[in-house]
Symmetry: C2
Subunit: 365 residues, 2 copies
């Protein structure tokens, strides 16, 4: 197979530890499967601030643009918490999304059978939950202008942000959601506050138009964001694909992830548009979990979410369905065999650290 260019950005906290395990999986794939990767590493987040003074150096953006796919770890930590807004580690991921045009964030919230008990919800409520949250990630209140904190003539401060969506931005991410729903259970729940927000009113209108014109075979349900939070908590099985803007998608995808009880298991993909000239599509893959500074360096972090992010990468960026499934199955088998990292530990199971978990997956492969 042709050389695939991968940019690996371990980032801060547990990022480097869990990425280390993925590198072993990549090496294995390089040797045993018909794949070959050309891997570059890059700086992002707090580590990049320390090294070169920026959470997302231009060099990293250039490398990301040149790569076929980006595998991202996680960024941030108390060390950088008091930095001013414009210099925070989080800007690393925000800039990558924006500069690469990664507008569709796909966040599966899947309850694997061996982990049903890990959830804070009752087993019968979460068993079989399989939700895909599709979140818009380059628009809305995250980037809208004007924004700022101004000081008024009387010395008082006022802070403001703009939530803004163009209909084309809504339509393209809606298509990603409808396409996914077609391959899944055929239902999209589009979430907004059309009852109080104008951008939400447009959101609802455009999603409805796209469905009517292009996806009459997919069921569309509109739901207010507050109600969606409630329903996720009380009856999560009703959902197939949830579609939301940058802000609601952020909160609701984290909620959907949390209800599985196994954050350390959940990957995500953020996809750009297909370039009509080259057929290429920028894409970044990262775990749902953050940099977990409290457990960083202890060797106890769960590497599965990062590995499953790599599986998503194989599937979405390279169409390597078989290799992706191989890795996913290996991880499931390790879990079924009773190994657990601390975050998903249950009575009667064997508690292991990051590298033992990684090794077990390699052995399964």
């Amino acid at each position: 197979a042709a050389n695939k260019k991968l940019l690996v950005l371990p980032g801060d906290g547990i990022g480097p530890e869990v990425m280390h395990e993925v590198r072993r999986v990549i090496d294995w794939m390089d040797r045993r499967r018909a794949l070959s990767f050309e891997i570059e590493e890059g700086l992002v987040g707090g580590g990049a601030i320390d090294a070169v003074g920026s959470p997302c150096p231009d060099e990293t953006v250039e490398k990301a643009k040149a790569a076929d796919a980006v595998l991202f770890g996680s960024v941030g930590g108390p060390k950088w918490d008091s930095l001013p807004f414009e210099q925070r580690p989080e800007l690393g991921i925000l800039r990558l999304r924006k500069d690469l045009g990664l507008f569709a964030n796909l966040r599966p919230a899947l309850v694997m059978d061996p982990l049903v008990e890990a959830s804070s919800l009752k087993p019968d409520i979460v068993r079989g939950v399989d939700i895909m949250v599709v979140r818009e990630t380059v628009g809305g209140i995250y980037f809208g202008e004007p924004r700022g904190v101004e000081t008024l003539p009387d010395g008082k401060r006022r802070g403001f942000d703009t939530d803004v969506y163009h209909e084309d931005e809504i339509a393209r991410v809606a298509r990603v959601a409808f396409d996914l729903a077609r391959k899944r259970r055929g239902k999209v729940t589009s979430v907004e506050k059309a009852n109080v927000m104008q951008s939400g009113r447009l959101w609802r209108a455009v999603v409805g138009e796209v469905q009517k014109a292009e996806y009459p075979d997919v069921a569309l349900e509109n739901m207010y964001a507050d109600n969606c939070a409630m329903q996720l908590c009380s009856r999560p099985k009703q959902f197939d694909v949830i579609l939301g803007n940058n802000l609601f998608g952020d909160v609701l995808s984290d909620l959907a992830a949390a209800l599985t009880g196994s954050l350390g298991m959940l990957p995500s993909a953020t996809l750009g548009a297909v370039d009509p000239a080259t057929g290429k599509r920028h894409a970044l893959y990262e775990p749902i979990h953050g940099s977990a500074p409290d457990i960083a360096g202890k060797g106890i972090a769960n590497p599965c979410a990062q590995m499953l992010s790599f599986a998503m990468l194989l599937r979405w960026s390279f169409g390597l369905e078989e290799d992706a499934a191989l890795l996913e199955t290996a991880i499931e088998k390790v879990l079924a065999g009773g190994l657990r990292t601390a975050d998903i530990m249950q009575p009667g199971m064997a508690r292991v650290g990051t590298s033992v978990m990684g090794e077990a997956v390699l052995r399964e492969l």
Copy 2:
């Protein structure tokens, strides 16, 4: 006791049914306790649209301003769902909040012992949960200007909203949260997205300043909204008071309510500022649940949230702690006795309708 002026706004859906049961409680208090109410009714929501063409007629606003307290039911239903933005039933409650200056919405999420099993969360996760969400309700993205849906020269649409907070708006609602925390377990969790929003950055700064200057005895924790949604779902007992802006407060208070599993039991209060001249404070009390059009008119709705809203009214607007507690205890006893409406039904309990539940509470009184 002096005559208290109450405005009762039953609204749409199950509003009138559950309000009917509260009226019986009010009558009883009128006769048996040292209280006397002067009650007016008014139009709001879909019913007001049908009757006079506006979801919140001026007359209702005038009556609300003249009243000592407003008891609100719920508004909305499929009949009015296709009306244009400016004519929706929801504007009824939004206008009342705005015109009366009701800036602090207090939403308790309390898990009563007899109802632990009603939650979708595991009993050991929710037993003892007692959270108060304080939500700002007259500012932020709900009212910020500019807002609208515009058509661009090329015919494409763009929708936009402004999220804006003045530091005084943040400080006054923060004080409500800190005051409450002082009477509770002494902790406020302030929620925003200071990592991506400028208004969130100001929010965090101002809440911190108020705590430092005026409430050094109260613990303050800052949390991102996405993380808060996760934590509510996985470890709700860590929270005492949660403070959020209009939008995050909306979503997170509904989530907190949902995790109790007994929405039909939860009241809320929305308070204005104390008028320095009269000592009077506008206030509106309403259940957390909506108008539930699917069960309206069937006589099966749970009247408890509306009754508990009245208890909150007695406590917050009139300082009638004893009468409030009397009503709350009566409701708890009825539940302990095994009566349940459909929404909180459990095996082995007796399923009853709205009026039987109301009667049982009266009997307890």
